[in-house]
């Protein structure tokens, strides 16, 4: 392979020999740098960093985040919480309107044997279910009321947060405060306005708590494209996830540079059937199918100026090379690196990632992969 094929030497073929493609490669120095940088930003702003581990689902990465100063983890599901509790993490916020069905109630009870657990709640039904399963007064359990700040997903309106908090408190629950997810940050130029939406919603929610005579010490927000613009006069905690690895989405949003991305799919050119295209052995079952309007193609192919991962099937990535200088076009058998559009969904497809730190190489298991319930 010519040097021009892989411009970023972190992903060059000779650094990842003897691993069958396609696979996910992690550059540990870049990951460490991303984690340290985010931690320093949060420390400087006096905001607690509680990283969302749904991005990586890998205990080794969570350990690295906590060792760098993160306080507690954010999780999407009870299954993820179980996975991280099993390996010793004991401060877990499931940032989701967890509905305590009998099964979920029993599992949360078990979690509480080894961890402090915070659950999201956005309805009286949610509160009632916790009460019904005898969880309300557990000393290690608390809830945060979810408010919505513009995404129109889960969460009550900020003005209603006090009423729901009061309802929960009356039923014996410890209410720590409020949280929101400013997912509207996922659009070009939207990070700062989303952070403003977040601050406004959390601030109004805190006022609504005051109106019912409740304190609101935790005001939690955050998403990777917005957390750097966090309003530290309002927000006490932030929960970005992707920041640890970064991905092609974040590059397109301007949140990260290509050199900040710590995760790549290493893939082989398996076919060069026509001058205008080549085909990679990575498709939607490796790269994932996420493709927001603001990204150009199904991931960012590195080192081939003018190329674009144009179309994907499950096991085929078709690269348009019609605009590429013929001497730069990879050949059958060459390995190239593609930065996936969305780290969270790409990692969730893999059972393990391959990790390189200087001359050392190893693997991490994606321990919480597929734990969706």
């Amino acid at each position: 392979m010519s040097d021009s094929v892989v411009a970023d030497e972190r992903w060059s073929a000779d650094r990842w020999q003897d691993i069958a493609t396609p696979f996910l490669a992690v550059d540990l120095p870049t990951l460490r740098r991303n984690v340290a940088r985010a931690q320093a930003l949060c420390d400087d702003g006096g905001v607690r960093l509680r990283p969302h581990v749904k991005t990586h689902k890998i205990p080794e990465v969570a350990r690295l985040q906590v060792d760098a100063g993160a306080r507690g983890l954010t999780l999407a599901t009870v299954g993820e919480a179980e996975c991280f509790a099993d390996v010793g993490f004991d401060d877990l916020f499931i940032a989701y309107p967890v509905l305590a069905t009998p099964d979920v109630g029993t599992r949360v009870q078990r979690l509480l044997e080894t961890a402090d657990v915070i659950l999201g709640v956005d309805s009286r039904d949610g509160v009632d279910a916790l009460v019904r399963h005898g969880l309300a007064t557990h000393p290690r359990l608390s809830v945060l009321v979810e408010v919505e700040c513009g995404l129109r997903r889960t969460g009550v309106a900020p003005e209603e947060a006090g009423t729901l908090a009061a309802y929960a408190a009356e039923h014996g629950l410890t209410v720590g405060g409020v949280f929101t997810f400013p997912g509207q940050a996922y659009a070009v130029g939207a990070g700062k306005p989303a952070a403003e939406d977040e601050a406004r919603a959390l601030s109004r929610a805190a006022e609504a708590f005051t109106a019912v005579g409740l304190p609101c010490p935790v005001r939690s927000g955050g998403a990777t494209p917005s957390y750097e613009a966090t309003d530290t006069t309002v927000v006490t905690e932030t929960r970005p996830g992707v920041y640890a690895f970064q991905d092609a989405q974040q590059v397109a949003l301007g949140t990260a540079a290509t050199s900040d991305v710590a995760l790549a799919v290493v893939t082989t050119v398996v076919s060069t059937p026509a001058p205008d295209r080549l085909v990679l052995d990575a498709g939607s079952k490796v790269l994932a199918a996420d493709r927001p309007a603001y990204v150009d193609g199904h991931g960012m192919l590195l080192g081939v100026p003018g190329a674009r991962v144009d179309r994907i099937w499950e096991h085929h990535g078709v690269v348009d090379v019609s605009g590429v200088d013929p001497s730069d076009v990879p050949r059958t058998g060459d390995r190239v690196a593609v930065l996936p559009n969305h780290a969270c969904t790409a990692i969730n497809l893999a059972d393990r990632v391959h990790v390189r730190d200087g001359d050392e190489r190893g693997t991490w298991s994606v321990a919480a992969r597929g734990m969706n319930g």
Copy 2:
């Protein structure tokens, strides 16, 4: 839950109790019926059915297909082939331009100890790699030349098939014939034209074989939306995959009725934050993110007339219920069923599926999940 919430009783909540949502449910009678119907169609047309197991990755389903009359399996990767060979399947066609790197060469050699293996090839590089690894003359190995029939993915032009076949034969390989994938069938009304493209390409390729003095006994095609229109005067083998389960894509294409779909995501309403929407605990990590232009939403929500799975995040499915009669709107805690858009990518996210056959319930492991290399 009211009866109106789940109109299709196969997926009604009381049939799937005690399983934590979200999960994949399989209705075995429907699956068996789909398999039998496709087999009968192929038998009637005198076409060999070699089902693509990348759809399900489940040995139990492959066994059911073979027991119904399927002859051999189609696979996407060497990893899938290893998985199915391990449990005794011995007639395996990897319908992909397999590039015999040292690792792949060694693994194919091992496969050949227990199975007849057919590999796709679409380049001299592909032939050369097989020769280099001493596989060319193995008595249990043969190749099919891949030709393209309009998809502009892998495969040589049909007219070039003879030249490549001759090159392979000169180097000692057994060339069984040609194959193509008429993926352009994935558009409304495109099934029949795609089948015509397929027949034309396979026919021309066979002529190109004749021109170089080679027989072309295997002319293999097929995709679920096109295989029923197979030109049986040309095509000898078809390789649909999705037909076994069907999915919302196939319903949108008119290939299947809702009642033909044997696979559903059972999910819980976790939030009803506003009158115009509700939120399910199934998002892109369960339903997969595939959303071609011809489908309406991220999967088909059953039993709620006028509802649409409008937006998804990893663990949230937001359903627009603004056009739904209020008495039909599910409530927090209700379970509903969503037919995923694409069976192949949804199953690949799960470690297991739950299966129901009359009063009996069990699970199948998605044994080849994630085997992308």
